[in-house]
Amino acid sequence: MPSVAPSTFAGTANVIAVIVLLTEFAMLRAPLLRSQVRLYAFQSLVVTALAVFVAATRHIDSLYVLAALSFTLKVIIVPRVVTRLLSRANVSLAGNSSLGVATMTLIAIAISVFGFFSVGALNLRSPVLPEAALAVSVGVILVAFVLIILRSDVVSQAVGFFSLENGVSMASLVVASGLPLIIDVAFLFDLMVAVVVFGVLMRIHHARNRTLSTEPLDQLRG
């Protein structure tokens, strides 16, 4: 028997979720800092699209507001702030990781598989989105961890954190789309504050070390 396909809605939602995950993979291998920031903007755009898609098909109007806010903040403002920082810093290459890209991809696949199945084992059911999307967003979060751990420049690490947040907001779309709008806004605002702090610290780092690489950051050993 051929397997039954999920509904068009579920399929589309899953595809959007998977695109977010694949963007995360692309960030893992992006050699240029600028392309990493662009990928982040694209990823945020896809997450926004998912929010709009859910809002439209499930008639949750507050999600439109959220989508509009996250579009302004994450697609336009945050990438622009980071890009300006980069043009001041005059650095274009991302830090190399100690591992090759193929190895990183394999590690990321293995880790996201782990995430997939551990979430799958929990058997969470969502009223609005297919469960696979939750598993995928956990995958996004885990790959973001890999990105932060394996890349050795402050921009990649910061972008890794921002995209981690994208994964979380995707998860919240799946399991908590009824979350009161005010709370969503609070989360977004908080992210904004975090972005500012990351920006300040990146500038301090660059001013002190004339580089965006994290290699000078090995004096303190926990």
Binding site: L122, A194, T214
Partner: protein
């Protein structure tokens, strides 16, 4: 009473605004006054919280547990504000006024966020408040603008943000768990969550609990996600180190306690306890070993913080009300002791111009007041009577021995003893040794430092000798609310 809550949240904002414009001397006075008022308001909350249920509005809420966690925060707010007067005078920094202004604004915002965190009503707002503490404190860690400070701040903000990302996921999963009881849209206030918890979907609560402990545990300094902690503590300005250690870590612990409360009601006690036990044992064991081999004064104290956070987590995992009373008392006593210890360390570092333990000799004879009190504070931290930590650790262990699984209590005692050796080696080697070589002149760095430490030590002795009646009621009430009622 509601007005009291609002006042408490508003008070630290006054010096924040004032310090933006005021000159240095007035900034210091305003901050101290505001901190004293905040502490006074917290104390005023004790009798009410000890005898009544939760005091709540739509966004603010205070019950026994939150007041217990407020106490060390506002206490350290006050003492650190006093200490800063001496610390910043000693700086005599060419960076001058801008540095002082930034410091005071950041200091007040940081304290404000830590005051707000235990007072907000609901997991979502709690997360937001704790994220604010992260970003503000990260900037404060970087404020000295040295290589070490920049690196420590970067490590801290990255790790803490990652942790908080995980905690946010935990919060969202908890929300999801609640949709089973409340329908798709509701708010995450404690009253509602605690009442509805038994009807939550257990799998989701399990996931949320683990994510929250891991996420907030990053900020609390639980092993293996503690690696930012020693660096940030040692590189930050000393008043900030004291606040990080005595107040920030426990504020994060407060978040874990809230998740614990809900998970316990939803799942029964076993699961959330085991989660805390695993992290607690790992923290205690690793930190005790690290304390044995530290050469940096502030890092030594930082690892002692990790150790104490481990003790708190283990204490929570004991199925005995006595241990929970101990945990809550420990939160307060640790704040007082760690504050004094860091102030003393700040004094020593200023005097000797080094943090390296091998170069500090004869501390007590050169710094008769702050040196002596540093020794006493360190002894208090390692759990000697007659200080508050002795009482709280005693309660925790006594509670643990009643637990069917009393081996854990034995392990706790052994590891705490190991840490004791580490700390007492430090005191005998650096503070009580005779003066050798070229040494700085005898005499205190500043009176303010001595006053700040003295206040802390008095509080420690009070907690150790006789816990005031109202506070005792508060602790007992808090401990009861952490027990499962079914």
């Amino acid at each position: 009473m509601h007005l009291l809550l609002i006042a408490l949240v508003a008070v630290p904002l006054v010096p924040t605004v004032a310090c933006l414009v005021a000159p240095r001397r007035s900034s210091q006075i305003i901050t101290i006054v505001a901190a004293a008022v905040a502490f006074g308001l917290t104390v005023a909350l004790i009798p009410y919280a000890a005898s009544h249920g939760a005091l709540s509005t739509s966004i603010l809420r205070a019950d026994a547990v939150s007041v217990v966690f407020l106490l060390p925060t506002t206490f350290l707010y006050l003492t650190a504000a006093i200490f800063s007067v001496g610390y910043l005078r000693a700086t005599d920094d060419p960076r001058g006024r801008r540095y002082v202004r930034r410091f005071y604004v950041g200091f007040n915002v940081f304290c404000w966020s830590m005051v707000v965190a235990p007072l907000v009503n609901g997991l979502a707002l709690l997360w937001v408040a704790i994220e604010v503490t992260t970003v503000v404190s990260a900037l404060l860690v970087a404020i000295d603008d040295t290589d070490g400070a920049a690196e420590a701040a970067w490590k801290y903000v990255l790790l803490a943000s990652m942790g908080l990302g995980v905690a946010l996921l935990g919060t969202i999963v908890m929300y999801y768990a609640g949709t089973k009881a409340f329908g798709p849209s509701y708010d995450l206030s404690y009253g509602r969550l605690l009442a509805g918890a038994p009807h939550f979907s257990p799998d989701a609560v399990r996931l949320a609990d683990v994510l929250a402990v891991l996420g907030f545990g990053t900020k609390m300094g639980l092993v293996p996600v503690h690696t930012w902690l020693p660096d940030a503590h040692s590189e930050a300005p000393t008043p900030i180190s004291a606040l990080l250690s005595g107040a920030l870590l426990t504020t994060s612990f407060y978040a874990i306690v809230r998740f614990f409360q809900i998970s316990e009601r939803a799942l029964g006690p076993t699961f959330p306890r085991i989660v805390l036990l695993v992290f607690g044992l790992a923290s205690l064991a690793l930190a005790a070993l690290y304390v044995l081999n530290q050469r940096d004064l502030k890092r030594l104290l930082a690892y002692s913080s990790v150790e104490h956070m481990g003790i708190l987590a283990i204490g929570m995992s004991f199925a005995a009300p006595l241990a929970l009373v101990g945990v809550l008392l420990h939160v307060i006593a640790h704040g007082a002791a760690k504050g004094s210890a860091f102030f003393g360390a700040g004094s020593v570092v200023r005097k000797f111009a080094t943090k390296d333990l091998r170069q500090i000799r004869g501390g007590v004879s050169i710094l008769p007041w702050s040196g002596t009190m540093l020794v006493l504070a360190v002894l208090a931290l390692s759990g000697l009577p007659p200080f508050g930590i002795f009482r709280s650790e005693f309660l925790i262990v006594a509670g643990g021995l009643r637990d069917p699984n009393d081996a854990v209590a034995a392990i706790l005692v052994v590891l705490a003893t190991v840490a004791f050796f580490g700390l007492s080696w430090f005191t005998t080697e650096t503070m009580l040794t005779p003066v050798t070589g070229t040494v700085p002149p005898r005499g205190e760095v500043s009176v303010a430092i001595v006053i700040a430490m003295l206040v802390g030590m008095v509080a420690l002795v009070v907690l150790g000798v006789h816990v005031p009646g109202a506070l005792n009621h508060l602790l007992e009430r808090g401990a009861r609310s952490l027990e499962v009622s079914r």
